[in-house]
């Protein structure tokens, strides 16, 4: 029983961190109707941002640099959105759905190789938030990971607050429901698009910054989290915020239980990513709208 509990704790702790990044993705989809295939690269940029920031300002407690990293990457997101995504909504692009897939995929390709060219393939670790491990029920968890999870939980709560209680949140929800109706009420959907994209990639970057010291950063560190995010939002329901949180926890648990219980231990870890992928494929086939399938927030 202890084993089950310890696997559950591991899964949930990671789940909260996954949720943050997945939420960013679902937000972008909800407002812009675009799956950001470069989401993993923004995660990666967040990791590099915090590493470089802490190298430049070594005295600062690492946790304070997390939002800074997020903001810096969000600015990059704004630039990209205006240059390459805005034309989609101004009817300048022939086939917007395919264009969206390809241009974000192209961005991913570009950013990955840019990071490789700029910073080389060597892994880098910023200093940890806190050293050591903490006893949590039957198991020990790395304190760093716990901090990352806690921060994610905090930010998730903050975001839910913003979405549900503030004017900005209302505006975002309006645009996600009906762009034209929102325009009638005076909400500029172009600006909302940019804000949503910036927020979305900012969340991915924060995720990357939080995990940078636990897993280290390399140019391709975003590849696995990206695929995981697609899985989560499809499972939860693309565009649904509660969906992305629930989906993230489920995937966290699936990866944990999968490795922990797969009958053949020699393959158990090897197939870790495959468990989520299979669920992903099944959901797409059987219930594409996911658990909470709604398009609005």
């Amino acid at each position: 029983m202890d084993y089950f509990i310890s696997l559950t704790i591991t899964g949930v702790v990671m789940g909260f961190i996954f949720a943050l990044m997945a939420l960013g993705l679902t937000l972008i989809f909800s407002i812009l109707n675009v799956i950001n295939f470069a989401h993993g690269e923004f995660y990666m940029l967040g990791g590099y941002a915090i590493f470089l920031l802490l190298e430049a300002f070594s005295g600062v407690p690492p946790i304070l640099m997390v939002p800074v990293a997020g903001i810096l990457v969000a600015i990059l997101g704004i630039v990209f959105e205006i240059a390459f995504l805005r034309p989609m909504h101004e009817d300048k692009i022939e086939r917007p759905a395919e264009y969206a897939v390809l241009i974000t995929f192209g961005l991913s390709f570009f950013l990955l190789n840019l990071a490789l060219a700029l910073w080389g393939p060597y892994p880098h670790s910023p200093p940890p938030f806190i050293e050591g491990s903490v006893k949590f029920g039957p198991i020990f968890i790395s304190a760093d990971r716990l901090v990352a999870s806690g921060m994610s939980l905090l930010l998730l709560a903050l975001l839910l607050l913003i979405i549900n209680k503030t004017w900005l949140g209302k505006a975002l929800r309006a645009v996600s429901q009906d762009k034209q109706a929102a325009a009638v009420v005076g909400i500029n959907s172009e600006v909302m698009n940019t804000i949503a994209f910036a927020l979305g990639v900012g969340l991915a970057a924060v995720s990357g910054a939080l995990l940078a010291s636990t897993f280290s950063v390399t140019p391709d560190v975003g590849a696995v989290p990206a695929v995981r995010s697609y899985i989560i939002i499809v499972l939860g329901g693309m565009g649904s915020i509660p969906g992305s949180i629930v989906g993230a926890i489920i995937i966290g648990l699936v990866e944990s239980y999968g490795a922990g219980y797969f009958p053949d231990p020699s393959r158990a870890l090897n197939y870790k990513m495959a468990y989520g992928l299979v669920i992903f494929a099944l959901v797409l086939l059987v219930r594409p709208q996911g658990l909470f399938g709604r398009k609005e927030l």
Partner: protein, 331 residues
């Protein structure tokens, strides 16, 4: 006969003929190492043009193309090794296996729109790759599966060159024939407006799946043949960045023209080889080119340049119509 000579008067046909001649005589001028580069380039050209057919023409932007290529390579290779099947038969079996996979995936994704198709095919490709790597007892995983060469008794690369060049020409001819036929007509109709096409009696299901099966078979045969040329395959041939490379080649070349996609692939592969000293920056430039092409020259960089030079294409047609010949860019 006059139909052929008329067809030959088209610039694109002449270019194609010129290209054909070029391809056939190149081995006389070119050293073994560059033959290897060209053979690899033709391999990518087959993949890029068949992906252009599926995506640009058929409107299905699938990310499973490399997976079908890998199925062709691995099934062909495994059948040859474990069942002692002779080379040509193993290649054909690999191709059929890829076609079967294409049938399944094509059928499963019938109703999927662009985003869902992309996601599903990514998932399929990754699951396949992980499985191939993990089941190393059968596939030898990362250690690599060793295959018999295409021409075991020859030291020279020239016969392999002609095989791959011939395969490229054959595939392009086949795909062009397909486009000219009723299938092409129906595909275009489906791409433009699926509902209207169905209303007019086009069997949407049949043609959507058909194009999937045919392009996956082309990818499969390319994989099987190329694998036997390289004589070793690992799951790394189907990592997502490889799929990205093929997509980039097709887009930069011109996703709606098969030949442009093929030429794009060849030129890009040669450039990548020539620019080797630039290391990782090659790909950065390439990535930037991809994004810019998508945004500003969506029919493809090559296609756009070709149209500009030869004053073809819809923009030129418009210009001719409005001011009787004089162009606004001074030429």
């Amino acid at each position: 006969m006059s139909k052929i000579t008329n067809a030959l008067r088209q610039p694109i046909a002449l270019a194609a003929l010129g290209g054909l001649v070029l391809i056939l005589i190149l081995p006389l001028f070119v050293q073994s190492y560059w033959l290897h580069v060209l053979i690899t380039a033709y391999f990518y050209a087959i993949l890029a043009s068949s992906w252009a057919l599926l995506a640009g023409y058929g409107g299905q932007f699938s990310f499973a193309h490399m997976a079908f290529m890998a199925i062709g390579a691995y099934v062909g290779g495994l059948v040859a090794i474990h069942l002692n099947v002779p080379l040509i038969a193993s290649i054909l079996i690999g191709t059929l296996a890829a076609g079967l996979a294409g049938l399944i995936i094509g059928a499963l994704t019938l109703r999927f729109k662009a985003t869902y198709l992309a996601l599903f095919t990514i998932a399929f490709s990754e699951i396949l790759r992980i499985t191939i790597r993990a089941e190393a007892q059968i596939t030898r995983g990362d250690r690599g599966l060793k295959l018999t060469p295409l021409f075991p008794d020859s030291i020279s690369r020239v016969p392999d060159y002609y095989v791959l060049a011939g395969l490229l020409i054959l595939c392009l001819a086949f795909m062009y024939w397909l486009i000219q036929s009723r299938v092409g007509l129906f595909l275009r109709a489906i791409r433009e407006d699926e509902v209207a096409a169905a209303a007019r009696g086009v069997d949407v299901v049949r043609y959507k799946v058909l194009v999937f099966v045919l392009t996956s078979m082309i990818a499969g045969i390319a994989g099987a043949v190329f694998a036997n040329y390289v004589t070793i395959i690992t799951p790394n041939i189907m990592v997502l960045p490889q799929m990205g490379l093929v997509i980039a080649m097709a887009i930069i070349g011109g996703v709606e023209s098969l030949i442009a996609a093929a030429i794009g692939a060849i030129l890009i592969q040669i450039s990548l080889e020539l620019l080797r000293e630039f290391g990782a920056w090659r790909m950065v430039i390439f990535g930037a080119l991809l994004i810019v092409t998508l945004r500003f020259a969506s029919s493809g960089l090559l296609t756009t340049i070709f149209n500009r030079i030869f004053k073809l294409g819809p923009k030129a047609e418009l210009r001719k119509g409005t001011d009787g010949g004089a162009t606004d860019d001074g030429t």
